[in-house]
Structures are given as C-alpha cells and as structure tokens.
Amino acid sequence: MSVTVDVPVAVPAAPPRSARGTGWDRAFEILCFSAATLLLTALGGLVISLVIGGWPALSKFGFAFFTSAEWDPVQEVYGAAGAIVGTVVSAGLALLLALPLAFGIAIFLVELCPPILRRTIGTAVELLAGIPSIVYGMWGLFVFAPWFAKHVQMPMMMSAKPGSLWEKLTAGIPNGAGIFTASVILAIMILPFIAATMRELLMTIPATVRESAYGLGSTTFEVIRNVSLPYVRTGAIGAVMLGLGRALGETMAVTFVIGNAHGFPTSLFSPGSTIASTIANEFTEATGELHLAALISLGLVLFVITFTVLALARLLIGRQQNL
C-alpha cells in the first residue's frame, strides 16, 4: 500500500471552515501532522532496523533459521525453531488458562456483582494489569514456583500412569521453572486485559435485548450463552487475540520462570525459552556479530508473529465496536 502525502488534507472534522485559515492555523496543522508522521516513521524504522540488523544471520542460515532448533553460540550455529515453539506454546497455554477465567470475571462484573462491590472489584482486577512484568517475574520465581512445584507439579506427576501420554507431558524435574509455570504467570498477566475488553463489550449489549431473553424465562447462563456471547462474538475473538499478542511478547516475567533452555520443550514441566527471553538473556553478552544478528532476527520473527495477531485483533474489535 502506498501512501502519498504531500499536503495534509484538512478534513473539516467538526469546525466548518470557510477559508483555509490563517498562517498560524497551517503551522499548527503541520506541527500536528509531523507528530503523527513521527510515530509512523518510528514503526517503519523499527521494522527496517530489525531487517538490517538481522540480515547477516538470515542470509547465512536461510530457511534453516526457522526450522532448526540448534542454538549454539560456540559453534556459531543458530536456529530459531526452539524459541518460536516455546513462544507459541507458552502463549497458547496461557490463553487457554486465562480465557475461561477472564470471561468469568467479565460476566461476574456485568451480571452478578453486587453494585456496591462492582467498582472495587473492577479496579482490583485492573490493578493486576498495572503490576510491572519484572515484579511478576520475581514473584513467580521466588514465591509462586516453589509453591507450584510442591502443590501442583508433584501431584500431577504422581497421578500419571506409566506409559500414558499424561506421563510424557508431566515428565521432567518438578522444580517450578519451566514452560507450564511461565504459562500460568502469563495467564495471570493477560487476564485483566481480556476481562476488561470483554466487560466493555458485554456492556454494549442493549439492555432490551438481554431483558427480553430474561423475560422469556432464560437463566443467566442461557442469556449469556445464547444472547450475550453471540452478540459480541467478533469483538470477543478480538479481545482474546489482544491477550495473545501480549503473551507472545512478554519478556521479563517469562525470562525469570521459564528455565531458559534452548531447543524444543519436551514436556509441560521442561525448561524452555521464548524469543523474548532469549533476546533478554543473551543480547548484552552476545559473543559476536553473528550472535547479535541471530538475536535481532529472532526479534523480527517476534514482530511478524505479534503484528499478525494484533492486526487481526484490531480488525475484529474495530468491526464490533469502536473500542
């Protein structure tokens, strides 16, 4: 898509203007236009810088960069597959965990919550979104992981029958650091975003629509399932993808708890790595030009993945409602 702009076209947004305005008006408009263009340039520059910075690695390894999971700074061999799989799996699992909870919270706040508590609980859930990633990481590593290993991982491993798929999934060292722990922390982090968007969406449903359903004798569950959710379906999918986009790019929290091992994760409890955690861990200690380039290429891959997800999300939410 080519954008040709020589002179910003003033669409009379609100003030009907008979003339094109004074010189000051033009100056102010150009100033505003420049600020907007600066943002556009920043995003464009980001993409270009990632492509240029990552090019040495991409041209050396070619397509194998995306299919090989070998990541060996000593031999100077780099493959992104392990980190890509780690990113997608941890974010996907997080979404699976966060989705029912977030929908439950949104429904609770809109339909069930006593009005006195609504604001307090709504604020509390939103505060969860305000806690910095690094604090989640620290809490995850020092408080959550030990508890999780003892009370969730161990029982899950014990319950596995020998030879079953479940045993394979729960194999590994239950020390609390691994893909699954990272997913749980990610789930807590994206929960408030999905819940907030869902809540906004549910509030857009006209009261008459819901009231008619109740009037027909529906239970709350039936109203939600048959009236509310279908009404906001497109937007809800967008909300979910917005959450996914966040989970994919989350860095510090994941870096603390995922265990940081290269290669494909072999089970839920095995240590792994994501694109963001690999960059965070190795960038300042990169051994050579190629290592640096490989890390920047990883960044480019992450950008492409999140851009796709976010663009879809915006499209879907935008179609539903101007949120």
Binding site: E29, L46, I105, E222
Partner: protein, 285 residues
C-alpha cells in the same frame, strides 16, 4: 430458546448454579493472585525500606547501600521520556481527531499507532539499540529515555484522540463562530475541556513505562554509581531488580524486593490517580 425450555428443569437449574459459581471462582482467583503478589511485596520489601534506600547507592555484596542511583536514574529517564512522549502524543492525537478524522492517511496512522501501542517492548529496545547505542558505541541513559518515550507516545496519542473525539462539535463551532482561528480553538477550548482526559492518558503512559525493564536492558544498561550524566550507562530500578534478584546474595535480593515494592507502589498509585481523575471528568460532563 425452546430447546432450553424443553429441557428438564433440574438440569437447567444445576447448569445455572455451576455457571454462576464458576464466575465467582474466576473472580476469586484473580483477587487471590493480586492479594498474593501484594502480600509478598509487602512482607519481603517493607523490611528493607529504610533511610539508606533513599540516601545511598547500590552496594557491593555484603556492604550497606541503597537505591539512590537507581531511583534518580529512573526518575530522570522517565521524566525525559514523558516530556518527549507528551509533546508527540498530544499533537499526534490532536491531528488524528481534529484534522484527519476520516482521511486515508489518518486511518493508516491510527492503525499503526495501535500496533506500536501493543508491540512487545523488548523490540523497542532492540530498535533503539540499533539506532542509538550501536552507532554511538555506548549505552546511555539518553537511549533508555528514547526507548521509554517510544513506548509512552502511542499510549498518549491514543487516549488524546479518544478524549478529543468526545468533545462536542458545538464547542468547536461556538469558538469558530466567535472568530477564533482553529489553533486557538484547539488550544484554549478543545484542549481545555479535554484537559483531565489528556492528563489521564499521560499518567497511564507514565505508569506503563515506570516499570518497563526489557527496553532498558540494552539501552540504559546499569550503573553502580550515582551519576547525573545521561550520556553514560544509567542505573534504573527495573534493571537493578533484574540483576539483583538473580544473585545469591541475600542483601542484594532484599534490595531487589524493596525496589520492586517501590515500583509497584508508584505504578498502582499513579493508576489509581488516573482513574480518579477520569471519574471526576465523566461525572462533571
């Protein structure tokens, strides 16, 4: 639906109970998670909160020290980032709302701003490394501020556009009818009436960048010493947490918890402030 109506009564009621309890439980889980995190921060962080934290710089292991250099560095970078981001964000948001509401280019900018808004912050760090750190051959607090500014600007742009759009058209017409030029209309009428909303956006952006770690890892890096020089690596709270938390030294870990408590408290207070401001705004209008 007729299907549901035909189903046995008991199963409907049972389904309802299960569903409603699930919603209660989901909310409970989120509240417990919040409480658990805040509790950990308080129990592990308050103990280390003494005067040294605010008067001494980060220590060598085993020595007495505080977080003064990190707090100062964080404040300097955040303030610098916010000045730049507010300038760009307010103007860009104004352009989107007042000059380009339906234009093609406006739509492109709006969409890409939303992408930038939710782009992983570590990528912003990589970008700033490529354009500022690598060419100038050195990590600097200035590069850190640029990275933070790039994260804050889209937030401010978005909220500014949203609140400006809410301003009634009649307001603009009234001002123009009095003979005010467009720039004066925007400055003294539209911006003034949208003031608290715009401030809310800036506060939310500030809350977001004050805890950001990933973009600072390879832009501002860290600095053991107290320094006001933003052309050199600059200490900051998030990176100090990241470095100190993963060490085996108990006193460093304690400082990391204290720093985490400070950051979280700041972020939560600013977020609450923004909410109160917003509430006051919607009530008055």
């Amino acid at each position: 639906m007729s299907m549901a109506a035909a189903a046995p009564r008991l199963s409907r009621r049972l389904g309802e109970i299960v569903f409603l309890s699930a919603c209660w439980v989901a909310t409970g889980v989120a509240l417990v998670a919040l409480a658990a995190i805040l509790w950990s921060l308080l129990t592990k962080g308050v103990g280390g909160l003494d005067l040294n934290v605010f008067t001494k710089s980060t220590p060598a292991p085993g020595n007495e020290g505080g977080l003064l250099n990190a707090i100062l560095g964080s404040v300097m970078m955040c303030v610098l980032a916010m000045i730049g981001a507010a300038l760009v964000g307010f103007l860009a948001g104004t352009w989107l709302s007042e000059f380009a509401r339906d234009s093609r280019y406006g739509k492109v900018v709006r969409f890409l701003n939303d992408v930038l808004l939710s782009a992983p912050s570590i990528l912003v760090g990589l970008f700033v490394y490529e354009i500022l750190v690598a060419p100038l051959k050195g990590f600097s607090g200035f590069a850190g501020a640029v990275a933070l500014g790039l994260i804050a600007a889209p937030v401010i742009t978005r909220t500014t556009e949203d609140v400006l759009r809410l301003q009634p058209t009649a307001l603009r017409e009234a001002s123009v009818a009095l003979g005010a030029p467009v720039w004066r209309t925007i400055f003294t009428v539209i911006w003034k009436s949208a003031r608290s909303g715009m401030l809310t956006g800036a506060l939310l952006a500030f809350a977001r960048i004050s805890g950001e770690t990933a973009p600072l890892l390879f832009t501002a890096l860290n600095n053991q010493f107290l320094s006001l020089d933003l052309t050199k690596p600059t200490a900051n709270l998030p990176v100090v947490i990241a470095n100190f938390a993963l060490t085996a030294y108990d006193d460093w870990r304690r400082l990391a918890w204290t720093a985490a408590l400070l950051i979280t408290a700041t972020v939560l207070v600013v977020t609450m402030l923004a909410r109160i401001l917003l509430r006051g705004n919607t009530r008055s209008s």
